[in-house]
C-alpha cells in the first residue's frame, strides 16, 4: 500500500471511530418541529419597533467596541511578547538564557491561546463581574496568545541575510528587532490583525452569554424567554455586523497588501483613532468595573488566585480530564473533515477562475453557474457570519442541547470559513496564470489535475488552522452544555471548585499544546 493510501485509510478509520464514540443518541426530535416553526415565524416578523431597534443598535456598537478594544490590547501585548521572544534569534545575542526566555514566552502564549475567550470570560467574571470590559479583557487574553504566536513566527521567519546589516551593528537585541525585522513583517502582521479583529467581532457578539456584554447577553435571554421576534432582530443585527466585518476586512486587507508604507502609516493612525474611540465608548463601563474592583475583598481574591494555582490532582479529577478530552477532540476532527470536504466539493462553483475556465459552454449554463456561485458564496458568508455559539443555540433550540447541535454548528461555521479560504487560495494564486496547463479549458479537470496538487500545502494549512480553531470552539460549546471538558470547566467554576477548574484548564492546555507540537512535527516531516 502506498504511503498516501495508508494515511487516507487511517484518516477514514479515525473519523468513523470518533463518530461512533460520540453520544449522538440524546436527540429531542419531538419538539423540534414546533421549535423550528416558532423560529421561522419569528424571522417572518422580527420586532422592528423603534425602541427595540435603538437598543439593538447600542448593543451592536458595544459589541464592536468590545471587539476592537480586545483585539487592540491583545495585538499590542502579543507584538510585545513576540518581539521579546524574537530577540533570541538576533545575530550575536543568542545565549541559553535568551533561548530559555523565548521558550517560556512561547509556552505562556500557548496557554493563552489554548483556553478560549469564553473560558477566560468565565474566569474574569469571578473577579471583575459581568460587563463589556470583562468581555474585552477575555478577548484580549485570547488574542494575545493567537497573535503573539503568529507575530513571533513571522519575526523568526525573516531571513537572516536581509537583516544582517542591522543586526550586525545593533547593541540591543530589541532595537535590532524594531529596526530590522519589524518593518519586514508589517504588511503580513496587519493582515493577521485584521483577520483576528473579524473573529473577535464574531466572538464579542456572543461573549455576552457568559457575562461579557454586547449582543450576546440579550440574545441568550430572549431565546430563553422564547421571544422569537426579538431573537430574529438580534440575529439580523448580529449577522449584519459580522458580515460587514467579513467583507470590510477582505477589502481592507487587499488594499493594505497593495499599498506601500504610506498606506501603512495612515492605517496605523486610523487603527489608533478607532481604538481610542472604542475606549471612549466603553468608559461608562469602566466606572462599573472600578466599582466592582473597589468592592472586591483583597483577601478573597488572593485566596482564589492561590487556589487556581494549586490544581486538584486527585484520580477522580484527572479521570474527568481524560474522559472530557474525547468529545471536543472528536467534534473538532469531525467538523474539520466535513467542512474540508464540503469546501472542496463546491470549489468548482465558488471559484471565479474555475468557472472562467469552464466558460465556452452554452450561455444559459454560464448564467446559471454564476447565479449558483453567488448563492453558494452568500450561504458561506451567512454560515461563517453567525458564530458557532449562536448556531449551537439555534440548533439546540430545535434539537435539544448535546453533541449533535454542536457538531452541526461547528461544521456549518467551519464550512463557511473554508469555502472562503479555499476559493481565495485558488483565485489569488492562479489569477493571471496562462492557460497552458494540463486539461486547459475544462474547469473541474484543471482544478483536480493542475490547481489542487499545487495548492495542497496551502489548503492543508488552512484546514489545520481551522481544526485548531474548531477545537477551541468545541471547548467553548462544551461550556454552554455540549459536553466534554468545557462543560466540566463551567460546572467547576460555577460551584467555586477552583482547584478542579484549574486542573481542567491545564487539561485543555496539554491537549492543545500536544496537538500543536504534533502538527508541527508532522508538517516538518511532510515538508
Amino acid at each position: 500500500m502506498s504511503r498516501r493510501r495508508i494515511v487516507f485509510v487511517t484518516f477514514a478509520i479515525a473519523t468513523a471511530a470518533i463518530a461512533f464514540s460520540l453520544d449522538f443518541g440524546t436527540l429531542n426530535t419531538q419538539g423540534a418541529f414546533g421549535a423550528v416553526r416558532s423560529l421561522l415565524t419569528g424571522f417572518g416578523s422580527p420586532d422592528l419597533r423603534p425602541q427595540t431597534l435603538g437598543r439593538v443598535l447600542t448593543l451592536a456598537a458595544q459589541t464592536l467596541a468590545v471587539a476592537i478594544l480586545g483585539t487592540g490590547l491583545g495585538a499590542a501585548l502579543g507584538l510585545l511578547v513576540a518581539m521579546v521572544g524574537a530577540t533570541a534569534s538576533v545575530h550575536g545575542h543568542h545565549g541559553p538564557g535568551r533561548r530559555a526566555l523565548a521558550e517560556l514566552l512561547r509556552l505562556g502564549l500557548d496557554g493563552l491561546r489554548a483556553i478560549p475567550d469564553f473560558a477566560w470570560a468565565l474566569a474574569l467574571l469571578v473577579v471583575l463581574g459581568p460587563g463589556p470590559l470583562t468581555g474585552a479583557f477575555a478577548i484580549a487574553l485570547s488574542v494575545t496568545g493567537i497573535l503573539g504566536r503568529a507575530f513571533g513566527q513571522l519575526l523568526e521567519s525573516v531571513s537572516a541575510a536581509r537583516v544582517h546589516p542591522v543586526e550586525r551593528l545593533a547593541g540591543s537585541p530589541l532595537a535590532a528587532v524594531v529596526y530590522g525585522r519589524l518593518p519586514h513583517i508589517a504588511p503580513a502582521a496587519w493582515s493577521y490583525g485584521l483577520a483576528r479583529l473579524e473573529c473577535s467581532i464574531r466572538n464579542a457578539s456572543v461573549i455576552g452569554i457568559v457575562g461579557g456584554g454586547g449582543l450576546g447577553a440579550e440574545l441568550f435571554e430572549e431565546l430563553g424567554y422564547g421571544r422569537m421576534d426579538r431573537v430574529a432582530t438580534l440575529l439580523l443585527a448580529l449577522v449584519a455586523l459580522t458580515a460587514s466585518a467579513d467583507i470590510g476586512s477582505s477589502i481592507l486587507r487587499r488594499r493594505l497588501g497593495a499599498g506601500g508604507p504610506r498606506t501603512q502609516r495612515s492605517a496605523r493612525l486610523c487603527a489608533f483613532l478607532v481604538f481610542v474611540a472604542s475606549l471612549a465608548w466603553l468608559t461608562p463601563a469602566a466606572a462599573t468595573l472600578l466599582d466592582a474592583l473597589s468592592r472586591m475583598d483583597a483577601r478573597v481574591a488572593s485566596e482564589s488566585a492561590a487556589r487556581l494555582l494549586q490544581p486538584d490532582l486527585s484520580a477522580q479529577t484527572l479521570g474527568e480530564v481524560v474522559r472530557g478530552v474525547g468529545p471536543p477532540l472528536g467534534l473538532a476532527w469531525l467538523s474539520m473533515t466535513a467542512a474540508t470536504m464540503f469546501a472542496l466539493a463546491v470549489l468548482p462553483w465558488t471559484s471565479t477562475i474555475v468557472r472562467g475556465r469552464a466558460r465556452g459552454a452554452a450561455a444559459a449554463d454560464a448564467t446559471l453557474a454564476i447565479a449558483g456561485a453567488w448563492v453558494l458564496r452568500g450561504a458561506a458568508l451567512l454560515a461563517r457570519a453567525v458564530p458557532e455559539v449562536a448556531w449551537l443555540l439555534l440548533f439546540a433550540a430545535a434539537l435539544g442541547m448535546g453533541p449533535t447541535p454542536a457538531l452541526l454548528a461547528l461544521s456549518l461555521h467551519a464550512s463557511g470559513v473554508l469555502v472562503r479560504l479555499f476559493t481565495e487560495a485558488v483565485d489569488d494564486r492562479f489569477v493571471a496564470a496562462p492557460r497552458r496547463d494540463v486539461g486547459a479549458g475544462a474547469g473541474i479537470g484543471w482544478l483536480v489535475y493542475a490547481a489542487l496538487p499545487r495548492l495542497r500545502a496551502t489548503l492543508a494549512t488552512h484546514a489545520g488552522l481551522q481544526a485548531e480553531s474548531n477545537l477551541r470552539s468545541a471547548f467553548t460549546l462544551g461550556i454552554l452544555g455540549a459536553g466534554g471538558l468545557g462543560n466540566a470547566f463551567h460546572s467547576a467554576i460555577s460551584y467555586w471548585q477552583l482547584e478542579r477548574a484549574s486542573t481542567l484548564a491545564l487539561g485543555m492546555l496539554v491537549v492543545f499544546v500536544g496537538l500543536d507540537r504534533l502538527g508541527r512535527r508532522m508538517s516538518r516531516l511532510g515538508g
Binding site: L169, G171, S172, L174, A175, Y179, P183, P261
Partner: protein, 250 residues
C-alpha cells in the same frame, strides 16, 4: 602609523575549492585600497575575513588592532560598530523611512531606550546628524521618503549615508556599484572615496569594473585564485599587471 588591517598567512578554504591561501598583507590607517581580480578570486572572502564574519582556518587577521572573529559579546559589537559594511545588494529595510534606515547605522552606539525612542519620536540632534549624513550623499530632500520610492542609485546612496552616520574607522565595500548604470558608477565611487577621506577613515573596496580604478585610490591589491599577486601604490600598477591578473594578456 598604525595598521588598520593586518593579515599574516591567513587561509580560508571552502568545500568548493575556493578561498584564500596563505595571504599576508597590511594596510595603513587612512589609506584607500581597491581590491581587483577575476570573479572567484576571493575578493568577497577577503572582505569577510577583515570584517570578522569569517574566521581564518589558519594564520592571523587583525582588524583595527583586534582579531574580530575571536571576539564575542560587547567587545565584538564594539568592533562591529567600528567596521562599516557596504553590501553588494541593496540591503535597506523596506517599510522603514530613509531617516530610520540611516538611524540603523548607529544602533551599535545607542542604548535600547534611545533606539526605541528614535524609532517613534526622533531626537532633534540625531535627526540633524542623519540629515547632514544624507546631505553629504546628496539626498537631503529625501529624508522622509520610503526606499521603495527611490531609484536604484538613490538607494545605494542611502546605504552610503547610513555608513557615514555610523562613521566607522574602516569602510568595507563589496562591489558597491553593481546594478548601477555606467555613468552613475564613477559618481558613486567618487562620493564613497570623498566621504572616507573627509572622515580620515580607511577603506577596502572590491571592484569588478576596472574602469573604476581611475577613481582616486591610494593602493591596488590584485587577487588571483585566493592569492595576493600584487599590492602596490595605485599609480605604479600597469595595464600589463592587470592583464596578467585577469589572464587576458592585454
Amino acid at each position: 602609523m598604525r595598521d588598520a588591517v593586518e593579515l599574516e598567512g591567513a587561509s580560508v578554504r571552502y568545500p568548493d575549492g575556493r578561498g584564500i591561501e596563505n595571504l599576508t598583507a597590511r594596510l595603513e590607517a587612512g589609506r584607500t585600497v581597491a581590491l581587483v581580480g577575476p570573479s572567484g578570486a576571493g575578493k568577497s572572502t577577503l572582505l569577510q575575513l577583515i570584517a570578522g564574519s569569517v574566521a581564518p582556518d589558519s594564520g592571523r587577521v587583525c582588524t583595527l588592532g583586534q582579531p574580530i572573529a575571536e571576539l564575542t559579546g560587547t567587545p565584538y559589537r564594539v568592533a562591529c560598530d567600528r567596521v562599516g559594511l557596504l553590501a553588494q545588494a541593496d540591503d535597506l529595510t523596506p517599510g522603514l523611512s530613509v531617516l530610520h534606515n540611516v538611524f540603523a547605522g548607529r544602533l551599535g552606539r545607542w542604548s535600547a531606550a534611545r533606539a526605541l525612542r528614535n524609532r517613534f519620536w526622533p531626537r532633534a540632534d540625531d535627526r540633524r546628524d542623519a540629515a547632514s549624513a544624507l546631505a553629504s550623499a546628496e539626498l537631503a530632500d529625501r529624508i522622509d521618503a520610503d526606499p521603495a520610492e527611490l531609484s536604484g542609485g538613490e538607494r545605494r546612496r542611502v546605504a552610503l549615508a547610513r555608513l557615514a552616520f555610523q562613521a566607522p574607522a574602516l569602510w568595507l565595500a563589496d562591489e558597491p556599484t553593481t546594478g548601477l548604470d555606467v555613468r552613475l558608477r564613477a559618481d558613486m565611487m567618487d562620493l564613497l572615496l570623498r566621504m572616507v577621506r573627509d572622515r580620515n577613515a580607511t577603506a577596502v573596496v572590491a571592484l569588478h569594473d576596472l574602469e573604476l580604478l581611475r577613481c582616486d585610490f591610494d593602493e591596488i591589491w590584485g587577487l588571483r585564485s585566493g592569492e595576493l599577486s600584487f599590492a602596490r601604490g595605485a599609480e605604479t600598477v600597469s595595464e600589463d599587471q592587470l592583464g596578467v591578473l585577469f589572464g587576458s594578456g592585454r
